[in-house]
Amino acid sequence: MSKNKSEYLINRHDNQYEVVVGLEVHAQVTSESKLFSTSATKFGAEPNTQVSLVDAAFPGMLPVINEYCVKQAIKTGIGLKAKINKRSVFDRKNYFYADLPQGYQISQFKDPIVGEGKVILDMPDGQKEVGIERLHLEQDAGKSIHDLDPKNTFVDLNRSGVALMEIVSKPDLRSPDEVNAYIKKLRSIMRYLGTCDGNMQEGSLRADVNVSVRKKGSKDFGTRCEIKNVNSIKFMQMAIEYEANRQVDLIEDGQTIDQETRLFDTKKNETRSMRSKEDAHDYRYFPDPDLLPLEVSDDFIEKLKSEIPELPDEKKKRFIEKFKLSPYEANILVSDIETSNYFENVIKKSDVKLATNWIIGELFAALNEKNLEITESPISAGNLSKLINLIKDGTISGKIAKTVFEQMMEGDKDPKKIVEEKGLKQESDPKALEALIDKVIDDNRDKATEYKSGKVKLFGFFVGQVMKVSGGKANPQLVNEILKKKL
């Protein structure tokens, strides 16, 4: 871990406090069907249309493990460089709630499917390793809807039984920025693997955030509070900031912190006590007798390992070594599988350096402005690569390319066609340029005289005039050369 300048500390009087954060991320497994039933998992379906007898806990119904979800969890474990447990056990977590039909959630308590692993974060001042404590599989609950009727609560069981991976980090995070980087990295790895779509709006990724504070330099952890079910990175950061400051205030005030579960109120930007340690549920975990321990063979794990694609860390390394990208550029391009795929498609047929600049610069800015994802880009990788080739072979200047690019953003048009149709081809014929330049010098005799008498700054004026007269199409390099001779 690098000692960094951008340390996140809370100052009160003469004391400096460090924030300690651990996350329990709930990631929905990408799977057509649920963890223990064959019901569909599509988001946004009509309420209670994706519910089997098992999901609704009808008498005598039994869970049967979905092998695909097991594979997804193991793949994620491999992506987190974690230990895969060949034997894991499903337990029942018992509690009553209207949207929990069985009266228990099937989860993994003592023996999770994935053990310790790690995630590498790229922070501005270097890399940071965050430990993963475990990953286990569990069922999601249904959804209680309280605001449809003044007296009644409605229950939608579509989500009931959907497979979740709970990924528990070690208390290694030290700032809201690190939390941001951690969630993004986790999301990126799972999207590369195709094991979780990471869609936070649809609730595919949410987290319980454990926060404690301690005086800078202290080795002991403070008492932590758990902020339940936060569903955006921004809210996680806000909640941590609020909660850390609340705890520091208490300590400074000579009070102690109660270990408790809290809720983050996004409207008031504050955390509120939900239940204290004493009121904590006794979940009465015990091994689910309807399910045998889950056992996987070495061959099964090896086969899954062979299916793992190149992950962001490895891809970044390759981009730096093979394409001579800077770590900064590589980071941006590998952060998302879709972006890196786009990049690799563009450079199949065009210059890497130019492609990097155009994607990170123009394309990202334009997409950002239109609020589009890379997958929704109006410009296909193929056409961007054509545009870059037009610049590279001198057909158009970088400046003209920007005009062409803007038109391409309006609809995926072939840049060659735009250049032809609009007559934007760069003028690189020396004779034509000479004629143009002669005319500009003629029209500005006085300035030419001044230049010759030593006012060299005027060179830029002449370049500008030539470009203006050519409608921006004159090859700037040639213009420079010819102008120097002529003046």
Binding site: G60, F96, A98, G103, T153, D282, R284, F286, L292
Partner: protein, 485 residues
Amino acid sequence: MSEITKQSLSELVESIKSKKLSSSEVTKAFVERSEKSKELNAYITEDYANALNKAKKFDEKPNLDLKLPGIPMAVKDLFCTRDLRTTAGSKILNNFVPTYESTVTQNIWNEGAILMGKLNCDEFAMGSSNETSFFGNVQNPIDKNLVPGGSSGGSSSAVAAQLTPITIGTDTGGSIRQPASFTGTVGLKPTYGSCSRYGIVAFASSLDQAGPMAQNVKDCALLQEVISTYDEKDSTSIDFKRNDYSKELTKDIKGKKIGIPKEYRVDGMPKEIEDLWKKGIEYAKDCGAEIIDISLPHTNYALPTYYIVAPAEASSNLARYDGVKYGFRAEGENLIDMYEKTRSEGFGAEVQRRIMIGTYVLSSGYYDAYYLKAQKVRKLIKNDFDDAYEKVDAILTPSTPSSAFKIGEKTNDPVSMYLNDIFTVPVNLAGLPGISIPAGHDAKGYPLGLQIIGKAFDEQNILNIAYAMEEKINFKNNITDWWIK
């Protein structure tokens, strides 16, 4: 007693196959006898009209290749039956009609049998006398005001009274074997994983097992052959080679080694049980078996272990009956209030007792001392059997420590009620097959049973031993039809 209902399953199958009888004639005979036997209270839900219709349909196009061609039968009301109310003997499922069929009953219908109705049982199979049923006590046809055993009390009563030629029960701690013993009938609890639990209202998932109940061993073997299938819908179902139990049935058990566990001579065991056991040993010897004394040292701990494991699982299994989705709901001020009222009014006293015990033993701070320790003891009990089976092929014990008792005799003494299962629970804890066969009568003339316990998946062997001993014992049930006016 009509001639038809006196016939055993095997005889009825033969009569239908040889067209001496039609399914309609057989079904009508059992329906009529059932209707005359309401005083036994063996049924919770009757489905006679449908049964007669189905019989008629069967006769129109009889498929005589089936194993149970047009045979009517009633089943314990713990098996979910499509479109026919399934209550588990509880108020909380009083109006519950499944849209699905349990695997075990589906197997039975697939072989041509016809459902006549659902048989009474202890609420959620929790009881040893059928007295915890929301639908009232069941009379033992042996004598008025005598319990038929439990939890499959409606099943044992119905078979003994010949309201159904055969039936199925479920056995979590003795719920097939004890009622069989109390009614002079035969009941088999198969190896755990032999019969699918899919669609059976769960009591204790790691112990529950469905099994056949019949008038004789051969019928039992035939029904076991039908109901035991591997089922992907039950993750604890085991894919092993199943025999054609009835076809492979033999009385030749010469040289079979039968173990007699000394720990089953419990304190205060009535002399007549001891005598019955001795007689059983003689019968086994007469059949050519070799008797070997064995030890199952942890037997003493079986009952307390069972009464931790079973309630623990039950407390969780029964959490789904919360008034939210189906079944009985009591109105409440809010969600918690609704839960409390629904479950207080919906569950009877014994079920509530076990939910409380189970919740307690799983609670943090008690889990290790009770549940975890019970699991360890359970393993030791299983090891005892494994060691014993190094020396013997099967084990012979009494089925119960007494004959049937009077209704109300033990209702206020749960521990004495629980002691009824003392010889049967170790078998469930070890996941082994066990069969109870009638072997004699006590001084009052009430039937007594002997239990033969087998190795896992060795149903054929204990069926064979039971078949051979059945002939030697030549038991006659003394049923006077006292309830028929």
